[in-house]
Subunit: 358 residues, 2 copies
C-alpha cells in the first residue's frame, strides 16, 4: 500500500520572492537581531512585538525546497504527496499579472513534481484576480500538465465568496476537466470575535477555530446557492476534514428544513447527498472523534490522509518526528486500526480518486 | 424511564413585557396588516421588509405560556423539562435594574415550575449587567429556590467574554453552590462573514453556523484562560452539543501543543480532560454523526436530550409533531438504539446529574 499526503504546501521560489518583496501581510522578512526570517501570513499577525506568536512564525527551506519536502516524506513514510501552493495563493497579485503568475507558478511546481516521478503530484493555483476567461483558460491548461490533479482555492472566490454566480463558469470548467477543487481557508474570522485577550493565546483561536469555520461557511454558501445542483459532479476536497461540516451537517439541514424563507424557494439537494457524492474530506483533524465523523458523512472511501506540512512544525526544531503528523496517523489507527478503511484513508483513496499513477 | 428536555426556553410574561416595550432588537411587535406578533431577536434581523425571515419570526403563546410548554411536553412524551429564560436573558436590562429583574424573573419562573410539581425544573438567569456582588448574591439565592438546578449564561459575560478574570468570583460561587452553567449562544458572528447573499438564505447561516461557533469560541476562551484549572469542579452544559467543540477538540489541542507563545506560559489541563470532567453536552445536534462525536468526548453518561423548544416550530403550523424534536429523537435511536446509553441520554443522565427528584 502507498501512503499519500494530499494536504501539503509549498511556497515555490518565485512565490517566496513575492513574499519577500512585500511590506504588509502576507510577507517574509527578518526582525534583527533574530537572524531567522519570519512569515507573517495571517490577517493581523504583524503585531508590534515578538513576545508572542502574534508576529508570524520562523521559516526555513521546508517552506520552499522540494528536497526538504522529499526528506520530510521519507522521514514520515509518505510515498506520494499532492503539493499545493500555500495560502493566500494568487489572491495577492495584481489583476493584470494574475494570469501570467499562475502560468509561471503552476509550471514551476509541475517541474518540481517531475524531479521525483511518481512521488509528487499537485493542485494548481488559479488566477482568480484576473478575468474569468483567464481563469477558465488556466483550468484547461492545467488539465494538460502531467502532474496536476486538481486546483487549490480559497474561500474568497472573485471577491464575493464562493456563492458568487459569476463563478459558475469556473465551476463548469472544473467539472468539465474533472479537476478536484482543494478548498482551503486563509481569512478566518474578524479578530474581534476572539475577544480582548486573544493575543495571550498565540495563534490558537484563529487557527483552531477561525480556519475551520471559514471553510464551513464557504462550502455552506456553495450548497445554499445551488452550486452542486447546477454542477452535480463537481468534486470538492475540504481542508481540515471539512472545517466543522461533518459535525454541523445535521444542524444545517435542520435549519434549512425550518426556514420559512428557504421553503418558498427552489428545492435543493439534501446536504447528506452532497456530502456523499461531491465532497471529499482530508483527514487533518487530529483526533479519532473528528475522523469518525468525517468518515460517517463522506464515506470511508472519500477521506484522505494529509499533514498540513510545513505548518505546525515540531516545537523542538531538532526533533525528527512531527507531532502534527503522528497525531493524524494515530487518529486513523485509533479509529480504524489497520483495516481496509484505514489503508484507503492513508493512501488508497487518493490514488484512486486523484489518479495518482504515472 | 423518564424523558427529560434540558434545552427548552421560556420568555415569562414579565420578560415579554420588556420585549414588547422595546423598539430595537430584541423586541416583539406586529407589522400590519399581519396580525401575528413577530419576535426580532437576532442581531441584524430587523430588516426593512418581510419578504424574508430577515424580519424575525412569528410567535405565539408557546413562547410564554407554561400551559403550552406542558402541552408540548405531553405531545412529545417528555416527562420533565428544565426550562431556561431564552436569549438574550438579562443582557438587555439597565445595570441599575439588573438585580431586581433577575430576582423577579427567577421567582416567576420558579412559580411556573411549582405549578407542575416534578415535571418542571429550571436554570436561573444572572444579573450580569449589575455588580459582581449582585450576581454572586443571586447565585446564592438561586441555590435556595426549590426548582433551580443551574443557571443559563450567554457568552458575553460582563461585556468582555468568558475569559474575563473578573468572572472568577462568579465561577467560584457557581462551583461552590454546585449549580451547572447552561452556556448558550446569542450574538453569533459579525454579519459580514456570511457574504453579500446571506439574506437569501434566511436564518440558516447565523443559526446553523454562527451560533455553534460562538459557543465554541466562548468555551475555548474559558479553557485557554485557565478557568477550569482555577475551578476544577465547575460544571458547564454546552448548548447544541458543544457548538463544534467535539469535532474540533483535536485541532484545538494540536494548535495549543504547537503554539510557541503558549508553550512559554503555564501548563493547562488537557482539553480531553476538561471535556470528560467539567463539560456536559446537550443532544441538540440533529444527526447521529454529531451525537456520536458528542458522546465520544463527553461520555455517554454526560450527554443530555433537549429540544430547543419553542424555537424551530413545524413549518405547517397545524402539525402535531415537531420535526426539530423528532430529528433529535431519531439521532439518539440511530446512534444508540434503545440501549442503556440511549436511556441515559434521553433522561437518566439529567435526572442524576441535575438532581431532578422532588
Amino acid at each position: 500500500m502507498s501512503i499519500v499526503d494530499i494536504h501539503t504546501h509549498v511556497y515555490p521560489p518565485s512565490y517566496m520572492e513575492i513574499l519577500r518583496s512585500r511590506t504588509n501581510v502576507p510577507y517574509v522578512r527578518t526582525f534583527p537581531p533574530d537572524p531567522i526570517p519570519r512569515l507573517l501570513v495571517l490577517p493581523g499577525e504583524d503585531g508590534p512585538t515578538s513576545t508572542s506568536t502574534s508576529r508570524g512564525r520562523p521559516i526555513g527551506p521546508e517552506y520552499y525546497s522540494i528536497e526538504h519536502k522529499i526528506a520530510f516524506m521519507d522521514a514520515h513514510e509518505i510515498d506520494i504527496s499532492v503539493i499545493s501552493l500555500a495560502n493566500p495563493w494568487l489572491d495577492i497579485v495584481e489583476p493584470s499579472e494574475a494570469a501570467q503568475r499562475a502560468c509561471e507558478i503552476n509550471d514551476e511546481m509541475n517541474s518540481m513534481c517531475l524531479q521525483y516521478p511518481g512521488r509528487l503530484f499537485m493542485f494548481g493555483a488559479l488566477p482568480l484576480k484576473g478575468t474569468l476567461e483567464e481563469t477558465v483558460l488556466e483550468i484547461k491548461r492545467l488539465r494538460g500538465l502531467s502532474c496536476v490533479r486538481g486546483v487549490v482555492m480559497g474561500t474568497g472566490g472573485l471577491g464575493n465568496g464562493l456563492d458568487d454566480q459569476k463563478l459558475d463558469a469556473v465551476y463548469a470548467a472544473l467539472q468539465e476537466e474533472e479537476l478536484t477543487v482543494f478548498l482551503h481557508p486563509h481569512y478566518g474570522l474578524p479578530a474581534e470575535v476572539y475577544g480582548p485577550r486573544a493575543a495571550e493565546y498565540g495563534h490558537v483561536l484563529p487557527l483552531a477555530l477561525g480556519f475551520p469555520l471559514e471553510t464551513t461557511i464557504g462550502v455552506s454558501r456553495m450548497i445554499l446557492s445551488g452550486v452542486f445542483d447546477r454542477h452535480p459532479t463537481l468534486s470538492i476536497l475540504l481542508a481540515h476534514s471539512g472545517g466543522t461540516l461533518p459535525f454541523l451537517a445535521g444542524r444545517l439541514e435542520s435549519c434549512i428544513a425550518h426556514d420559512l424563507h428557504l421553503a418558498a424557494g427552489p428545492v435543493r439537494r439534501n446536504i447528506w447527498d452532497v456530502l456523499a457524492k461531491n465532497i471529499l474530506l482530508d483527514a487533518v483533524i487530529y483526533s479519532s472523534v473528528g475522523l469518525k465523523a468525517a468518515v460517517a458523512v463522506a464515506g470511508a472511501d472519500r477521506v484522505l490522509f494529509g499533514t498540513d506540512h510545513p505548518f505546525f512544525p515540531p516545537m523542538n526544531p531538532g526533533g525528527q518526528g512531527w507531532l502534527s503528523v503522528t497525531m493524524n496517523y494515530d487518529a486513523v489507527s485509533a479509529a480504524f486500526g489497520d483495516s481496509a478503511e484505514a489503508k484507503g484513508i492513508l493512501g488508497g483513496n487518493a490514488v484512486k480518486l486523484l489518479r495518482l499513477e504515472l
